[in-house]
């Protein structure tokens, strides 16, 4: 019966309850969206492996490294695989069709990225054909590419029209994996550059290093950079995570702002629910006085008010969470060209739930305190 009372109390002022629930629902939805945007931003970081290191030119990413470093890096203790590549920066038909495209050493690259899943035939076909390329499943879908289609990219860093044949379409191992990448044979790039701009040949933008044990990452990175100290192209080696992080940190200020806004909406709804609860409890002071008269104690009163507050926040919040999935999905579809991984993380849901409980509890504090400390005689006198 107490439970029934809690529910009935929550919906006594129908319009007020409905508006508060709507507010809670929208806030949880907004909160979920904002958190998802943040986690999408970090998707590259989250998907990075602790067993991969990235070596690049110590001065800046736009400077490259000689291909001759490959053997030296491979000789370092604890290094399993060395792959390498260049950011190609090619454009497909128009600027606005942007996607990431790299020239890589195919065999080692796919070894380093077991999360890119490719059938054996496609793999073999890709390795065999020097002018072939592989695209992520989402990317292929976006442009309607099929296996053996021929694709032309307009080079920006490396001028000219570049023709590729699509020999593989990879799937991500799970939904956190970026399925919008495009890569092709580094050899193809290098041989072409050799003819057109020999001074730029035999240079790579980055080395990817696969290491045996994640906890030796720091010492291996140090050893690698030590090898090229005082050479004309010094290196900077860091974990893939740190490397990805350096991209995110460009936009760190924006992310901080988004994070701040996501917490601000929670604080706002806290004030709204607290106001609703304060109004409801004030109107019902006389009823709480009656409960106390009958011998109900502070815990009962607290239970009634806290329960009511939690009913409101959980009903609104649950609808909000339920809406988060379709909305994120629709939104993700709309922005999939720019944000490759846009999914609701479990942490977002945990934070939603924490927010629901916290708002419910905080909103109930002051009204409960008022009702509990109210003198019965005053409560009975109050107009309800």
């Amino acid at each position: 019966m107490i439970l029934k009372l809690v529910f009935k109390n929550a919906f006594r002022q129908k319009l007020r309850a409905a508006l508060t629930i709507l507010g809670m629902c929208i806030v949880i939805l907004a909160f979920g969206m904002l958190r998802t945007v943040i986690s999408a931003w970090y998707a590259g970081v989250a998907a990075s492996s602790a067993n991969r290191l990235v070596t690049r030119n110590a001065i800046s990413l736009i400077f490259s490294l000689p291909i001759s470093y490959k053997e030296k890096i491979r000789s370092v203790n604890g290094v399993n695989i060395v792959s390498y590549g260049n950011w190609f920066g090619g454009v497909y038909i128009e600027e606005k069709n942007f996607f990431a495209n790299f020239a890589v050493e195919p065999v080692t690259y796919l070894n380093l990225y077991p999360e890119f899943i490719l059938s054996e035939e496609q793999k073999t076909a890709f390795f065999r054909d020097r002018k072939s390329c592989v695209a992520g499943q989402k990317l292929a879908k976006r442009f309607g590419w099929k296996i053996n289609d021929s694709i032309t990219l307009k080079g920006t860093i490396f001028p000219g029209n570049w023709e590729f044949v699509l020999r593989g379409i990879y799937d991500g191992r799970d939904e956190t994996i970026d399925e919008t990448q495009f890569f092709f044979h580094w050899d193809y790039l290098n041989e072409t550059v050799k003819k057109s701009a020999p001074r730029r040949a035999d240079m790579v933008g980055f080395y990817m290093i696969g290491i045996a044990k994640a906890d030796s990452a720091a010492s291996i990175a140090q050893t690698v950079d030590g090898l090229f100290k005082n050479s004309y192209a010094e290196t900077l080696t860091e974990t893939e995570k740190a490397f990805q992080m350096s991209f995110v940190s460009f936009s760190e200020a924006i992310l901080t702002a988004i994070r701040l806004v996501s917490f601000m909406v929670i604080v706002i709804i806290m004030a709204v629910v607290a106001n609703t609860m304060a109004m409801s409890v004030r109107e019902r002071m006389r009823e709480y006085a009656v409960f106390k008269t009958l011998g109900f104690g502070a815990f009962h009163i607290l239970g009634l008010i806290l329960g009511e507050s939690l009913v409101i926040t959980s009903v609104g919040g649950t609808i909000g969470i339920a809406l988060t999935f379709p909305v994120v999905k629709a939104f993700g579809k709309a922005v999939s060209n720019w944000i490759p991984v846009f999914i609701v993380e479990p942490e977002t849901i945990y934070m939603d739930i924490a927010a629901i409980l916290m708002v419910g509890v905080v909103a109930a504090i002051i009204p409960s305190w008022r009702a509990v400390t109210m003198r019965i005689a005053d409560g009975l006198r109050s107009i309800g």
């Binding site: 019966m1 029934k4 009372l5 006594r12 006389r286 008269t293 009958l294 011998g295 104690g297 005689a377």
Partner: protein, 233 residues
């Protein structure tokens, strides 16, 4: 009705309220015995302290001085929580504005005080049905307060007050908000509770017709109990 053991003994009771720096004495040196089975009407002009006295006897408020012994307990010595438990077991309340919980049915309103007891659901049902039949509303169990007339609501409130079989029934102007016919019904009901069930009732009223129903009457004026106004009917 010839039971002469006092069930309530009030000794030198005083109570004042503070309004800013001002201290307003509301009750001064009240001494009063109420016998078991008595139906006492407490009369007096508005603001004379009747409600305050009733609240003190019922353990809703704390006195400044003096003692109130109900049964064998001095309730002025009890803490807030002890007082709440004591009220739950010993006092039934009837208010001027019924004070039913609007979202609960008549049945649930009457069941409310029993929730604090460890009675089984079945036992509670027996008690509630008995109390509702006592006030003649057994056929309105599922009605909500808004679906009942004022008089019916007050009778539900009376059922709620008696359902725990308390030592003491206190009523603060129980007919103050009722039309004459309903008031008559309520008073008749209270009279029956007193005469047939031997309930001890203290009723605050300023309606002389209501007071006439009681077996004894006390008159309170400006916080002082007039001693010579007791009338036996």
């Amino acid at each position: 009705m010839e039971n002469k053991t006092p069930v309530v003994r009030i000794k030198e009771l005083s109570k004042s309220y503070r309004r800013g720096s001002q201290i307003i004495p509301v009750l001064q040196n009240i001494t009063l015995d109420i016998n078991a089975g008595d139906f006492l009407a407490l009369m007096g002009p508005s603001g004379s302290g009747k409600s305050t006295l009733l609240n003190l006897i019922a353990g809703l408020d704390q006195a400044d001085q003096g003692s109130i012994i109900v049964g064998d307990a001095d309730i002025t010595l009890l803490s807030e929580t002890e007082l709440a438990d004591w009220r739950a077991g010993h006092v039934g309340f009837i208010f001027q504005f019924y004070n039913l919980i609007p979202v609960l049915s008549a049945y649930e309103n009457v069941e409310l005080p029993l929730i604090l007891t460890d009675l089984s659901k079945k036992k509670r049902r027996d008690h509630v049905e008995h109390a509702l039949s006592l006030v003649g509303l057994e056929d309105r169990m599922d009605h909500y307060p808004s679906q009942l007339s004022g008089g019916q609501q007050q009778r539900v409130a009376i059922a709620r007050a008696v359902v725990t079989d308390p030592t003491l029934l206190v009523a603060d102007e129980p007919t103050g908000d009722l039309d004459r016919k309903s008031a008559e019904d309520v008073l008749q009901l209270m009279e029956r509770l007193s005469k047939e069930l031997g309930k001890t009732i203290i009723m605050v009223t300023h309606d002389p017709r209501a007071a006439k129903r009681a077996c004894s009457m006390k008159y309170l004026d400006k916080g002082i109990l007039a001693n010579d106004t007791e009338t036996r009917l």
